[in-house]
């Protein structure tokens, strides 16, 4: 199941020109607010009719200005999870969940019981959306989209309206969707942490243009793509859970190097992805001694990107994968950090929060 998008649209003075392919898995449209992410998703859903272009799912054309084809939203069979949930206030949770199913007829393949169980919303079925918490609403919204038997799930910043705690509550459900349901997901986000947790593929948007697209690990570790001035920059490491220690730490193994993290939920032997924020990484030219930080990764500087401010983003190739470090220009100059220079990346164990670790 592949989604291919190639559209152009003028919105006032804003020009959207976007082309990308979304393979199976989670494709994250990543960019700041105002970069055109929501317009792209709306064009795929049929809620926005672009001036020109073509949108196709697995070869079936949903929209094509060349042939004049335009499939209205209700005939596209896509599940859309909105930022604000948009549950129907006059229906119970159960009626909300059944809504799309009824129109889909035989097209709805997911069983109600399975979806209700997966999202943990069995105790809410008789209630109305008015009385639900933000997190509960969003879980119901996910279920409602899924039960409509979609060929593709669209999610427009589904966590943005939730507080940090609730985000942590919903993210695992999207991981389960990615891992347990075969439906591909197009997911809009401006949060690097969400991208790191979920993305199989990343499409980076800036001012209505695609500036980069590719596998998540590659795109996230590329200093040219990640905004240097934003705290959001960070690389993605894939590791295996080696063992849980008595003192509350979990030891991960990545490329022959050990990483120590606060206890993670995954069992030993499972593969996980860990997001290491660039501002949590310290660089050292010599191997430091007598340091409290538990994680030391030896590596070689592969790229440097200077931003407008005093900071620079350095990417370091280590045996565990590419790590991004945000350092000041002054330090970079003083230490002679340049492509090819050997360095050690120092990462404090406690800097990695449980939200930064996700299943693979």
């Amino acid at each position: 199941m592949t989604l291919s998008v190639d559209i152009g649209h003028q919105l006032g003075s804003f020009r959207l020109d976007v082309a990308f392919e979304a393979p199976p898995g989670v494709t994250v449209l990543f960019g700041r607010s105002g970069s055109g992410k929501t317009s792209v998703v709306n064009a795929v859903a049929g809620l926005l009719r672009p001036d020109r272009g073509r949108v196709a799912v697995d070869g079936e054309v949903l929209f094509d200005t060349g042939s004049g084809r335009w499939l209205p939203p209700h005939r596209r069979r896509l599940g859309y999870i909105f930022q604000e949930g948009r549950l129907f206030p006059h229906m119970t949770v159960k009626q909300n969940l059944s809504y799309g199913r009824w129109f889909a007829g035989d097209g709805a393949t997911e069983s109600m019981d399975h979806v209700v169980e997966m999202l943990g919303i069995g105790h809410l079925l008789a209630r109305r959306p008015g009385g639900l918490s933000g997190g509960e609403k969003q879980r119901v919204a996910i279920g409602r989209a899924l039960l409509a038997g979609p060929r593709l799930l669209l999610a427009d910043e589904p966590l943005a309206a939730l507080d940090e705690g609730r985000k942590g509550e919903i993210l695992p459900y999207f991981e389960r969707l990615r891992d347990e349901v075969s439906v591909p997901i197009l997911y809009v986000s401006h949060s690097a942490a969400e991208v790191a947790r979920l993305a199989t593929t990343v499409v980076v948007l800036q001012d209505g243009q695609v500036v980069r697209q590719g596998p998540a690990g590659e795109v996230l570790s590329d200093p040219e793509v990640m905004p240097t001035g934003v705290r959001g920059a960070g690389a993605l490491l894939v590791a295996r859970v080696a063992r849980h220690h008595e003192d509350g730490l979990t030891e991960l193994e990545a490329g022959g190097v050990s990483l120590f993290l606060p206890r993670v939920a995954q069992e030993a032997g499972r593969e996980v992805r860990v997001r290491v924020a660039a501002h949590d990484v310290i660089l050292a030219r010599e191997k430091p001694e007598g340091l409290s930080a538990l994680n030391l990764l030896p590596g070689v500087v592969s790229a440097i990107r200077a931003g407008e401010g005093p900071g620079m983003l350095v990417s370091l190739d280590t045996p565990a994968g590419t790590v991004l470090a945000r350092v000041t220009r002054r330090s970079a100059q003083a230490l002679g950090i340049e492509p090819g220079a050997a360095c050690h990346a120092v990462i404090k164990t406690v800097a990695i929060a449980p939200e930064d670790v996700g299943g693979l």
Binding site: A45, G46, L47, P72, P73, H74, R75, R76, R77, L78, G79, Y80, F82, E84, R86, F88, P89, H90, Y99, G100, F103, A104, R127, R128, P129, G130, G131, R144, A145, A148, L154
Partner: protein, 230 residues
């Protein structure tokens, strides 16, 4: 109803019948018009809006006279309808038409307000879940505007019960045919000794109006609570 004389009772019953049909037939047209005014953009929208509100502003006698010119047996629409055996002038059906036209602006205003309060994003969500436009309206829009529709219907009913000027101009004041409650009050006041029956009809009128208002309050509150889903 021994309390009311036969002529008085006739007027009350006729008024209830006229108002009931005026409201029932007007409702789908009112919902459609309110939806078009609230949601669609089309040329001449302001003209339509003006026409809808005209009966509210024109003297009722003028509205009644215009109805007579249009729907009278020699009028363009009336003549056409007569060829199918439908006569409105000087019949109770004509009274219902006059009452419906006069109540129409109130009905449309109430419904339009409730449609404008419905978030179009909910309708978009329904569309992405596979609902065509018509289904979106039936399953999402209509249930959500139900309080406004009921309020508009009750308001229109009450207005129809009280309609006088356009009715008497268009269909006259024929006892048993077109003599509605207000027309009867007027007729009784024209003859000596008519104050008693007139006063009884006034009381009935007040009771029905108050009842309608209370009913609309209760219905609207219940519907609103159901939609808010507390």
């Amino acid at each position: 109803m021994g309390w009311l004389g036969p002529e008085e009772w006739q007027a009350v019953a006729l008024s209830l019948k006229v108002s009931f049909w005026a409201t029932l037939v007007g409702l789908p047209i009112g919902i459609f018009t309110a939806y078009a005014l609230a949601r669609w953009r089309f040329p001449g929208k302001q003209v339509v809006n003006g026409l809808v509100h005209l009966p509210l502003i024109l003297p009722p006698v003028v509205t009644g006279y215009l109805l007579l010119l249009t729907f009278g047996t020699t009028g363009p629409v009336g003549g056409f309808l007569e060829s199918f055996g439908i006569v409105l002038a000087f019949r109770w059906t004509g009274a219902a038409l006059a009452a419906g036209v006069m109540a129409f602006p109130l009905m449309v205003r109430a419904i339009r307000l409730s449609i404008e309060a419905v978030d179009p994003k909910l309708e978009e969500a329904a569309a992405t879940l596979g609902a065509s436009r018509a289904w979106v309206f039936v399953t999402v829009t209509l249930p959500l505007i139900l309080p406004g529709v009921l309020a508009g219907a009750i308001l229109a009913f009450a207005k129809a019960m009280g309609e006088f000027g356009a009715t008497i101009t268009f269909v006259s004041n024929i006892p048993g045919q077109t003599q509605t409650l207000p027309s009867a009050v007027y007729a009784f006041l024209q003859v000596p000794g008519g104050e008693g029956p007139a006063m009884r009809l006034v009381i009935v009128s007040v009771v029905i109006a108050m009842g309608a208002l209370l009913l609309s309050e209760v219905v609207a509150r219940r519907a609103a609570a159901r939609v808010a889903g507390g």
